[in-house]
Amino acid sequence: MARLRQSLPAYLFLLPWLIGVLGLTIGPMLLSLYYSFTDYALLNTPEWTGLHNYTALFQDPRYLHSLRVTFIYVGVSVPLEMAFALAVAVLLNRGLKGLAVYRALYYVPSLLGGSVAIALLWQQIFGSDGLLNDILGVFGIHGRGWISEPGTALWTLIVLRVWQFGAPMVIFLAGLRQIPDDVLEAAEVDGAGRWQRFWRVTLPLLSPVVFFNLVLQIIGAFQAFTPAFVISGGKGGPSDSTLFYTLYLYQQAFGNFRMGYAAAMAWVLLLIIAVFTGLNFVLGRTWVFYGDEGVRR
């Protein structure tokens, strides 16, 4: 009892957060879970249908298609984004003058890339009369409607994500600064070439940062919405080729008012992200080097 009374001031400080976490996070999470087992169209009272929404999901070809589109998007754009981020960070970290300027310039796309304005610009650049085809035309290459053709539309979104490699790059740069010079010099004295130093010294020492970026980028990429929504006019076309998971969820919830179905989609998304994050942590043990293993041995 005395301990509880001592806790009172802390709970007063925590009051806004407690209300928020119960009323806007945990409560709605559980409510969404309940909705996912019901037929709910916002205006009716939810009607219990058991696992029906979940079984229906995996027989819904558009849903399965949206899964495929999202996996391709995550699987291609995240590694490319990371590779660019790491390469440019390593290049910038070699004591060049003007580092701060380059870092800022390369970061600008990350700052603006999530906005509607940039998505609209992208729609323009990759349109059949757009900037890209104009530039290709200068070289005598006849372009195509990058956004209007199902074969290339998703790739314009992947390019848009990779274009924003500045954010992980800044984190890589901070990580590279932590690597002590004497370790690299020692490797050089031992006769390690530039590539060997990168693969054997820099990369292992940087691996916790790589891991951190990877986890963050994968979680973020699974939830991408704005570019696909804006560029495809909310439809996910052409031929559903840009039908991201979250876009299909939006269509079901706010286009068809199938709230129960959308809630089931949201919970499956949470599971997918949790599995990928968990997998990252398990696999991470094999390649992330925290620097204390050697000391103990």
Binding site: Q6, S7, P9, Y11, F13, L14, P16, W17, G20, V21, L24, T25, P28, M29, L31, S32, Y35, V88, L91, L92, L96, G98, L105, Y106, Y107, V108, P109, S110, L111, L112, G114, S115, V116, A117, L120, L121, W122, Q124, I125, L131, D134, V138, A167, V170, I171, L173, A174, L216, I219, Q223, F225, F229, V230, M259, A262, A263, M265, A266, I273, T277
Partner: protein
Amino acid sequence: MKRVLAHLGLSAGALIMLYPLLWMVSASLRKNTDIFDHPGLIPEHPTLGNYALGWSSTGTSFGVYIMNSLIICAAVVIGNVITCSLTAYAFARMRFVGRKALFAVMLGTIMLPAHVTLIAQYSIFRNLNWIDTFWPMIVPSFLATDAFFVFLMVQFIRSIPVELDDAARIDGCGYWGIYRRIILPLLSPALVTTAIFSFIWTWNNFFSQLIYLSTRTRLTVPVALRGFLDATGSSEWGGLFAMSVVTLVPVVVVFVVFQRRILAGMAHTGLK
């Protein structure tokens, strides 16, 4: 020689990266008929006409959308700064029953995809008659729901020496006094970082503004921009680019002014 090559490569890379943005600015200064004529950056007959046209061509002045966005952004910044710091202070400095469990819950909510609360939140806000108002965007920030900022501030407060708290306590300060007079002033770098990112993310946030707002005069900048071509009859690219530039300028200005803080904040916490 190697250095020159590196600089050439990096500058060329930066130019390619920024070319779309520069081109958009240039396109916003051209007549509608000139925009797609050539891919260069220098407009032949530069004009500000698109800005005047775009500002009013959706039927509602663009100033209204900007005002709406600014109101929401200001409220979110204030809400996050106040409630996240209160929460962070309790977690970092106070002892109470259930502290570890609640801290774990707070950490767990950082990575939670918003979609898993979305449907239920929407139906709750609907029952409160908050659809088509600013409340669904503003109220969560006054309930410290952005756990990321709480975490950022907890880390920061832990680096403030506890001796300062003790000294204040001896001088007669209670928890509130310590929070107001010691922690808040010393926390100001983290508060500024929180304010900057709250502003940028809210300004760019599209999803919740899309689902909650519908009346034209209540729309925010991103939602209005996305409906621009529909509202004006789809060929007014010049006006669209002009207004796009207008919507990006506040973010760029904030970045230029607070560049060092933003990049340092990114590097320490992995903020996107």
